[in-house]
């Protein structure tokens, strides 16, 4: 029998029933909820069901909350009722909710790993596509729809089809100025936003082993932008060191038992993947997107592409409409592009390591006069830790604004928006049309690149700052 992949090992141990045709009824070992998910609890109630395992569901507020300094539930009046309703329903059901101002509150994909709720070997779901983030700890984690959320609440299980397996091996070593975000953007540029469709992706290779856990979470975060619902990294000593002592991580003898088990999870050396992809990390330079899909990505040293650089007429059309929307001219070096906004935050890049990388660039410099720049920490704990470290001072002194934790301008559903026609460099994961506000133009980049852009007032190569 050939060896097994990390993915298969975790999948198999969650199968409650084989439903044939590659489908299984899977046990859900962790379920996370955010403030968009209150509806699920309401529907459950309306249909007369109960939350089957409230101790396996954890909730937080992130999407629709204000990130204004000093915010409360009431700062965004229209959403206050929704927050209160969800809080009441969670309480009634016995679900732990990390509320505003409490340790643990934050972007749901920051909260899970930070609290040790996400562990190697778990099968974790959440009604949010960037749930793939949690795979960075060696879990199967994927986003589900609203009806599937109701199914999970009622049954602690889910009907899913087993995806195919892809392994992406990052060979080589990242050069200075190149961050995990650049690696995953470069991969998306290489195989496209549909390149991972139908696959569970395992990220492997020396550059992944070199990477700290927070970087792995960033890489896995953009799996959905590759078309893959699931991205994962095998657990190792870095994973265990990261998790030890976190609030919901096991302790004592159970910790030892858990680590022993986790060591058996990595893919066997003779495991077979349906597709193998290799990325040469030595060649990657800082990346920046120019268009309206994450695959519209180029090195910051590059020029804005001509639509005729591709042969497929449908693709040409797509490139032309992206250029029109973004207000860019083909052939111009992208680092001449003037910007209005910088957003450092989101479940992609709002953790301590991200803030430290951005602060390194910001330290002793000033945000360009025509740029507005925000730093939005991913969680209450990160905010406190960054403040204890003095990072907020570095940002404030440089002219950045320091906000309360939440999704903020990644999705712009809480009123944190850029104006039509304005251009932003953002550390988030989607540069879709209107993502940061109707008519807004988004360039995705690493936290260091975003900080560099804020200082330069234009898209800039962080290595030249």
């Amino acid at each position: 029998m050939p060896g097994q992949t990390l993915f298969d090992k975790i999948w198999d141990r969650h199968v409650i029933a084989d439903l044939g045709d590659d489908y299984a009824l899977l046990h859900v070992s962790r379920h996370l909820m955010h403030d968009g998910g209150g509806r699920g609890l309401q529907v459950l109630k309306d249909q007369g069901y109960k939350v089957r395992n409230p101790d396996l569901t954890f909730a937080t507020f992130d999407h629709v909350i204000s990130t204004e300094p000093g915010r409360t539930h009431e700062t965004l009046k229209p959403h206050a009722a929704r927050l209160y309703a969800m809080r009441d329903m969670a309480k009634e059901a016995g679900i732990k909710l990390f509320d505003l101002g409490q340790p643990g509150q934050g972007i749901v994909h920051v909260m899970g790993p930070e609290q040790g709720i996400t562990l190697p070997g778990v099968l974790l779901v959440c009604g949010d596509s960037h749930t793939c983030t949690h795979g960075g700890l060696g879990a199967i984690a994927f986003g589900v729809g609203a009806t599937e959320v109701v199914h999970v609440l009622a049954t602690q299980s889910l009907v899913q089809r087993r995806p195919k397996r892809m392994r992406v091996t990052f060979e080589g070593k990242a050069t200075p100025g190149v961050l995990p975000k650049d690696l995953i953007l470069a991969l998306i540029g290489q195989i496209g936003t549909a390149g991972g469709t139908g696959f569970a992706v395992e990220y492997a290779g020396p550059a992944i082993r070199d990477m700290e856990v927070e970087g792995r979470l960033t890489v896995c975060n953009l799996s959905i932008e590759l078309g893959a619902k699931i991205g994962m990294v095998a657990p190792d000593e870095k994973t265990y060191a990261y998790l030890k002592g976190r609030p919901y991580a096991p302790t004592g003898a159970v910790w030892d038992q858990a680590v022993a088990d986790w060591r058996s999870l990595p893919s066997d050396s003779d495991a077979k993947f349906d597709v193998e992809v290799t990325v040469d990390v030595n060649k990657i330079v800082p990346q920046i997107t120019w268009g309206t899909s994450p695959e519209h990505v180029i090195p910051v040293t590059g020029k804005i592409p001509h639509p005729t650089s591709v042969s497929d007429p449908d693709k040409q059309k797509a490139l032309q409409s992206a250029l029109d929307y973004m207000g860019l001219t083909p052939g111009v070096p992208i680092d001449q592009t003037k910007i209005d906004w910088v957003f450092i935050g989101s479940c992609t890049n709002s953790r301590m390591s991200d803030l430290r990388e951005a602060a390194k660039i910001a330290k002793g410099r000033k945000v360009s006069a025509h740029v507005r720049a925000w730093v939005v920490p991913g969680s209450e704990n990160i905010k406190r830790e960054a403040e204890a470290e003095g990072l907020h001072k570095v940002f404030l002194d440089a002219g950045f604004e320091w906000r309360e934790p939440g999704c903020s301008m990644c999705l712009a559903v809480n009123g944190d928006t850029i104006a039509p026609g304005q251009r932003s460099v953002s550390t988030s994961n989607r540069n879709f049309v209107g993502r940061q506000g109707p008519g807004g133009r988004t360039h995705l980049a690493s936290p260091a690149m975003a900080a560099a852009a804020a200082i330069a007032g234009r898209i800039a190569d962080v290595r030249s700052i």
Binding site: A17, S129, G143, Q160, T193
Partner: protein, 212 residues
């Protein structure tokens, strides 16, 4: 859930790649409106002109395609977020089926949860169908831009009468044909769920954090 058996309906081609769910339903509409109120906002960024009037260039605003119940789309349709509102929005426009070479994976699942049939075909077949539909709208054409989808026999019949067979997983097909409620079905397996949990609690106790 409304059963899906045979659908004989107008079909409209949207031959753009990577159409994302932010386009299909903008997040602020999802925030402000209920599940059954999203139809008017489906594809909002493309569907209307800045003054709020219909954009005549938008595929579903073209008179020949108005009222289409089937969308024929290109690669990676409905990629992006997990918002089920993307399905509710197209349903709100009357759509019951989407044909594409590939789909965003969460949208694909969400379709089945709502009685909408996503059909995956080779890109060459999808392009051929789109061509036939466009041809059928040209002056002098004697066919209509309509497709017939039969879920029982898993076939799509094009305006010219060509039959294309598609694959749909058996379990999904059964649920659609009968309009089954998945939660109720799973609850009949409560014994198996409980047995699995009892086993996992012993083998991997850390999966059950005590309330803290």
């Amino acid at each position: 859930m409304k059963p899906f058996t045979v659908l004989d309906a107008k079909a409209a081609p949207l031959m753009e790649q990577n159409v994302n769910t932010d386009i299909i339903i903008p997040i602020h509409r999802l925030r402000d409106f209920g599940q059954n109120e999203l139809g008017p906002y489906a594809f909002e960024p493309w569907r209307y002109l800045p003054d709020g009037s219909d954009n005549p260039e938008f595929f579903l605003n073209k008179p020949a395609y108005k009222g289409a119940e089937i969308i024929v789309a290109d690669e990676n349709f409905a990629c992006g977020s997990s918002r089920e509102g993307a399905v509710w929005a197209v349903m709100g426009m009357g759509v019951r089926a989407v044909i594409a070479p590939s789909f965003g994976p969460i949208f694909f699942n969400n379709c089945f949860q709502n009685g909408v049939l996503p059909i995956q075909l080779d890109r060459a077949d999808v392009l051929a169908i789109a061509n036939e539909l466009e041809g059928a709208t040209r002056p002098g054409s004697n066919s209509e831009p309509k497709l017939s989808i039969d879920l029982e026999s898993r076939t799509v019949t094009t305006p010219s009468g060509r039959k294309i067979t598609f694959h749909v997983d058996g379990i999904r097909r059964d649920a659609l044909l009968k309009g089954l409620n998945e939660v109720a079905l799973t609850l009949t397996r409560e014994g198996e769920i409980a047995a699995h949990q009892a086993m996992a609690r012993k083998a991997t106790p850390w999966l059950y954090p005590a309330a803290q």
